[in-house]
Amino acid sequence: MEDKRIIELYFARDESAILHTKEKYGAYCYKIAYNILRNNEDSDECVNDTYLGAWNSIPPNIPNILSVYLAKITRQLSISRLRRNTAKKRNNNNTPFDELNDCLSKNLNIYDNIEAEELKNIITAFLQKQSASERNIFICRYFYCDTISEICKRFHYSQSKVKTTLYRSRSKLKEYLMKEGVLNE
């Protein structure tokens, strides 16, 4: 079913909207959750919560791109779950997010008063300055949390190429954040 029709079902408060969402995007959302959590049960719960989140937020929201809308919900729920698990010391897995520590350092942190929206705009501007391939690899890794192997397959790159590209992107992001005055010492 087309996304437009699924969204119409949400607006009509037709519960089959969830069924169609599950059919079309269930596996896709699960993949995002699993890439973050590395746990089947937690991932299933996050995906189910995603459907609930979509049900509760559409309307009033009108997704621009339904797949991305769902991905954002899944990602945020999964990250929240990951943070809870980490706080309870139930998470021993490395995630792609750990790599983003490269953007900070012992003496450099993001100012407390920087709002998420402002930081988003800065990172958006940064990504727009990158080449399409660098930007896409960065997003696949740190938004979708794809594994290196998946990114290699997607872009037909060697593993070392992907890793090196990500490393350089992180380094450049750090420089950019410093330049923008977002990092403090």
């Binding site: 621009n64 998420a116 990504l127 960065f138 090196t164």
Partner: protein, 287 residues
């Protein structure tokens, strides 16, 4: 997580940007754009008939890539090559930057390039392409000297290092019988086996070349092995704006779209050409 703000901010990025990273360009077009697109498609189809004949008739296709509005024939070639070449649209065209998504599993890497030539490798072959003659002037088959393929495995592999002047290269092959070295003259194509002691002193050691530019930490346990080769190609791909190449992809049945393996070679001035190479150097995609 000390990087929580960054993680959250990435989660808020623009929908289109996120979508395109995973699925390519957004296909949804505004109504007026659809009308324009339809007109363009009709025009492109018309040109395609002529362009298609042109390409079939001339396996070797040259094109000027320095215009931001490149011709359909160029675009067609891009499509056949299954590559993406991006350019900074804000850059003045003479300073066009080409970013090649160039490395396939079979073409292994660009090892060296200067104003005259490019040295690049497949899994089992080494090629020297000369801009002036617009030809691959030398090939070197690893299997003929009993050298394992590049990136073959942790215990058996080959690595290549080109000297800074581009005059020669040393192929180091490693297997359970130990290390062997081959001297390759890139100017005349001559090769000879040499002992480790015979490696010219001005050549950097293979050991110092390894790992130089790799990330310090790596969370993905499945990729802890890096070869000097992969290092070199990534380095070249990232630090040179142009003069890289791409193989033409086979179709989904393994048949090459234009009959044989061809490379797209981007020249320093932004123009490009295709170049036939030898299919038997690429076992997986051979005839």
């Amino acid at each position: 997580m000390s990087n929580e703000k960054i993680i959250d901010a990435i989660g808020m990025l623009d929908d289109t940007m996120i979508y395109e990273a995973k699925f390519g360009k957004v296909k949804v077009l505004p109504h007026i754009t659809k009308v324009i697109a339809a007109a363009l498609i009709i025009m492109i189809i018309s040109v395609a008939v002529i362009g298609g004949f042109n390409m079939l008739g001339h396996m070797k296709t040259d094109g000027d890539y320095t215009n931001t509005k490149y011709s359909f024939r160029n675009e067609k070639l891009m499509k056949i090559c299954n590559i993406n070449i991006t350019y900074e649209s804000n850059e003045p065209t003479p300073d066009l930057k080409l970013t090649m998504q160039y490395i396939g599993s079979e073409i292994f890497g660009v090892e060296y390039s200067d104003a005259e030539k490019v040295v690049f490798t497949s899994r089992t072959g080494i090629f020297v392409y000369n801009y002036k003659s617009d030809n691959i002037v030398h090939t070197f088959d690893l299997e003929k000297v009993g050298a394992p393929g590049f990136n073959q495995g942790d215990d058996s592999y080959s690595s290549l290092q080109v000297d800074k002047s581009g005059r020669y290269a040393i192929l180091k092959s490693t297997d359970n019988s130990g290390d062997k070295y081959h001297y390759i003259n890139l100017l005349n194509g001559e090769t000879k086996d040499i002992a480790e002691n015979d490696i010219p002193e001005d050549m950097e050691s293979f050991e110092t070349q390894e790992m130089t530019y790799y990330p310090e930490s790596d969370s993905d346990d499945s990729f802890n092995y890096y070869s000097p080769k992969a290092h070199t190609s990534s380095y070249m791909a990232n630090y040179h704006n142009c003069d890289f190449f791409m193989r033409i992809e086979p179709d989904n049945k393994g048949k090459l779209l234009v009959g044989n393996m061809e490379l797209l070679i981007i020249k320093p001035d932004g123009s490009f050409t295709t170049q036939r190479v030898f299919a038997d150097m690429f076992p997986k995609f051979g005839k």
